[in-house]
Amino acid sequence: MKQHLTRRELLAGAGIGAGALLVGPARSLAASAPAGRVAVAKCKTYGPELVPAMEKMFDQIGGLGGLVKGKTVAMKINLIGVRWQRLGNAPMEETFWTHPRAIGAAVHLIGKAGAKKIRVVEGPWSTPETLEEVMLSMNWKPQDILSAAPNVEFENTNYLGRGKKYSRFMVPAGAMIYPGYDLNHSYEDCDVFVSFAKLKEHAATGITLSMKNVYGTTPITIYGEGAGKDEPSLRPHGGRGGVFHFASRLPSKSAPQQIDMSLPKEAGYRLPRIIAELNAARPVHLAIIDGVKAATGAETNYGSRPQAAVNPGVLIAGTNAVATDAVAMSVMGFNPMNDRGKPPFASSDNMLHLGEDLGVGLRDLSKNEIAGVPISEVVFDYTAVRNKILADRKKA
């Protein structure tokens, strides 16, 4: 019987079973990872309290002026999944998507702080439609966002868009799955990159917050199931599952290819690493998380999962995605220091840990500066909601 595992076997093993060893980059860059400043605010509605709450948070993390004045800002929002599938009757913005009023509020404040241009970006599920069209299809009023500040525009980053070529972002060091990623020009054009996410759990990765939101920057003309084999396709077709979750196909050959084809083909192994790499390659300058209204249980409606539309009544913002997500996890009742096998990482590795190893940021709350409302005052226990749903189902 073999007594020792090869590194390949070790890597494969990390993709299976609870409590398996986290295999990060060959050399951890955690020691050089920056600390972040994170602010927490109570905000129960998307009404008049929203803008003051957000503005106060931004002030608490050092103000927006120094970050955005005279700069071009790209703000990646979250419009995940099949938009025609709601959770019950709740509109998407009250469960899975960044709320349009929250987007408008952030745009307004970034504009007020002197941004030269604000481009709101996202790669919505499997479509080349403009973001304006996607919003109209949800009965939003995109004009409210476009008029919230001067020089605001939208771009669907699922494909080449208004660019002439894709921009390449290499993982600075310690790449685990891909050495780099080709993205829409908007992510290179910007001086400041904002990730504006929703406070949610995720079926494959445990949580989806500001780090995971960056996953949606990847163009599906290259990383989608209908991507071109050699070159990016002209039109985006399909989701990203084939390339990223399960490695059932490769990205277009024009893009950086997977480092090692024998790596586990398991979403819980691959996605946290890909997300950490994307955050290292295209760092987030400002992370914002909309937890005013959200959904528990998963990132989109799975039908059979114990999910609920909830009203945590909280906003979180920070200068570092790992730190901001660590605070958000704590607000959700999770321990950001947990690894695979412990909630919420039942079957995945902890993307925050991997981000830390790539030098993106620190997940230990004590190593970051946290301002605003104490976390203990805004904890909204996602696990408790799930347990209640399951108990109610059992009774029924």
């Binding site: 025609w84 599938q85 009757n89 080349p128 109209l136």
Partner: protein
């Protein structure tokens, strides 16, 4: 009973010809032959008495030796059936001697015969043209038009097939050929034929959680969907039962009787709503084609796909386009690769000049207007034309899904009149009355399983009332409009297993 638009048909396989036609097929058993004999028994008519079925479709001639025995074998059934008020239609197919078969049908008292191709000259009884959808014969001298190649509606298994990159499953529906038949022959009744699938003999793969064992044969809901899919598109399915159900009905087995009662209940439901059959599909987009020859496939596929992207539409037959009213339309998709005549082209261009958008194929000669910038991925080059636009497809053989997606994209969701949520396995058909005061949204669930959440409609225009009718609920239910901040209102529906309709009143 004479054949007319109100005839309600049911396939009645019985006798030596059906046995001869099927005996070489895989899975044919002595039990099946026995059932085919038993359905010859006039007493078997009790199954359809007190049901809306009033027309039995029997095999009449197929060019086989058994043709000779079939009329005599059917005689007692036909005689008793006619006394009970049933009409009979004889199907003539294959290499049968058609004039002789028609004459024999007349002599036997059949109300009509059905056959593909052309009717024999001088046929003394109505001949229902019974052709594939692409070869429909709208000009035939018959009050009924037949479509012989309908599909068993549902989500095909295995369902790995995708209906486009929308994460919505592919659905098999007869909606497109039926809508085409309706516009090509607006004054005729349309019958569509398709048989239930042979029930699986091997157990399905292990399900998690395991589903309860199913009765052999097709489920009652599968039959309900087959009735509803045809009826909601204004046509009649020539009811056709699987061997197991026929055997069990003859044996009066309770489960089979329950299934049959459910089918009858659904037929009665639609029969009580005949008024809605006068409504016509409506929406801001019209699909215009002659739906003939090489144009058929593109036209049918557009009508198949627009429901999947939830785009309501009208259908205009090109031969009638000169007299068609374009009022209320925002866009017209001219499908055909052969050019319209000068008058129609002028009418279409005038529509665009007046503010509409005209979508045309790549071979549209000398396109009018001037080019305007458009997203490079779009399949259409967009040209400005007075107050409107002409959109010319860039490709000769475009992906049909991309075509409909880009048409919707260019029309803009700003102009959506309806949106459907929480219904990935459903299609809807929106129809309005001639004056536009009443509307109905037929909602069909091709999975035959209620979703995790009830479906939900966004309705742009204000209405006085909305109510849900369905064979699945005891009585109509009033629906409340939930007004939306950005305009319009939402209607929340309960979960539906197979079919429901929202009746709207302005």
């Amino acid at each position: 009973m004479a054949l007319n638009a109100e005839s309600v048909p049911m396939r009645w396989p019985a006798g030596p010809l059906d046995i001869a036609c099927r005996e070489k097929a895989k899975g044919f058993t002595a039990e099946t032959a026995d059932v085919l004999r038993k359905w010859l028994d006039p007493d078997s008519l009790a199954i359809v008495q007190s049901s809306p079925v009033n027309c039995l479709v029997v095999s009449w001639a197929a060019g086989l030796p058994a043709d000779a025995d079939q009329p005599a074998a059917l005689k007692p059934l036909i005689e008793k059936g006619r006394q009970a008020g049933f009409g009979f239609v004889g199907v003539i197919e294959g290499q049968a001697d058609r004039p002789a078969a028609v004459a024999a049908a007349k002599a036997a008292g059949l109300a009509a015969v059905a056959m593909d191709g052309d009717a024999p000259a001088g046929a003394a009884i109505p001949v229902i043209p019974w052709n594939k959808a692409a070869k429909l014969k709208p000009a035939a001298n018959s009050p009924v038009l037949g479509i012989s190649d309908g599909v068993w509606p549902g989500i095909p298994q295995p369902s790995g097939q995708g209906g486009g990159p929308t994460n919505l499953p592919w659905v098999d529906s007869n909606g497109a050929p039926l809508l085409i038949a309706r516009v090509l022959a607006p004054d005729k009744a349309v019958w569509i034929g398709f048989d239930p699938p042979t029930p699986q003999t091997t157990p399905p793969p292990q399900q998690t959680p395991p589903r309860p064992p199913q009765q052999p044969g097709n489920s009652a809901d599968a039959y309900v969907l087959a009735v509803a899919d045809s009826a909601s598109y204004g046509a009649k399915w020539v009811i056709s039962l699987d061997d197991q159900l026929r055997a069990d009905l003859i044996a009066r087995k309770p489960a089979a009787m329950d299934t049959w009662k459910k089918v009858i209940h659904t037929m009665v439901f639609f029969d009580q709503r005949k008024q809605a059959r006068t409504y016509r599909p409506d929406g801001p987009l019209a699909i215009l084609s002659d739906f003939a020859g090489p144009n058929y496939d593109a036209g049918e596929e557009a009508i198949n796909l627009f429901p999947r992207i939830r785009q309501p539409f009208r259908v205009i037959a090109r031969p009638q386009a000169a007299g068609a009213n374009f009022a209320g339309l925002l866009a017209i998709y001219y499908v055909d690769r052969d050019a319209p005549d000068a008058a129609l082209r002028q009418k279409l261009i005038a529509f665009a000049q007046g503010g509409g958008t005209l979508f045309v194929p790549s071979n549209w000669s000398n396109p009018e207007g001037t080019p305007v910038p458009a997203e490079p991925y779009l399949l259409f080059k967009v040209r400005s034309l007075a107050k409107g636009r002409l959109a010319v497809c860039k490709e000769d053989q475009p992906d049909p899904y991309d075509v409909v997606a880009d048409i919707q994209n260019i029309i803009s969701h700003r102009n959506d009149v309806l949106r459907l949520y929480n219904a990935p396995s459903m299609n809807f058909l929106y129809e309005t009355s001639a004056q536009g005061k009443q509307g109905v949204i037929h909602l069909l669930n091709y999975s035959r399983r209620p979703g995790s959440d009830g479906p939900l409609f966004y309705v742009k225009e204000p209405h006085k009332s909305a109510r849900l009718v369905s064979p699945e609920i005891a009585s109509p239910t009033d629906l409340a409009f939930a007004p939306q901040e950005a305009g319009g209102a939402e209607l929340f529906l309960p979960k539906l297993t197979v079919y429901g309709a929202v009746e709207l009143e302005k």
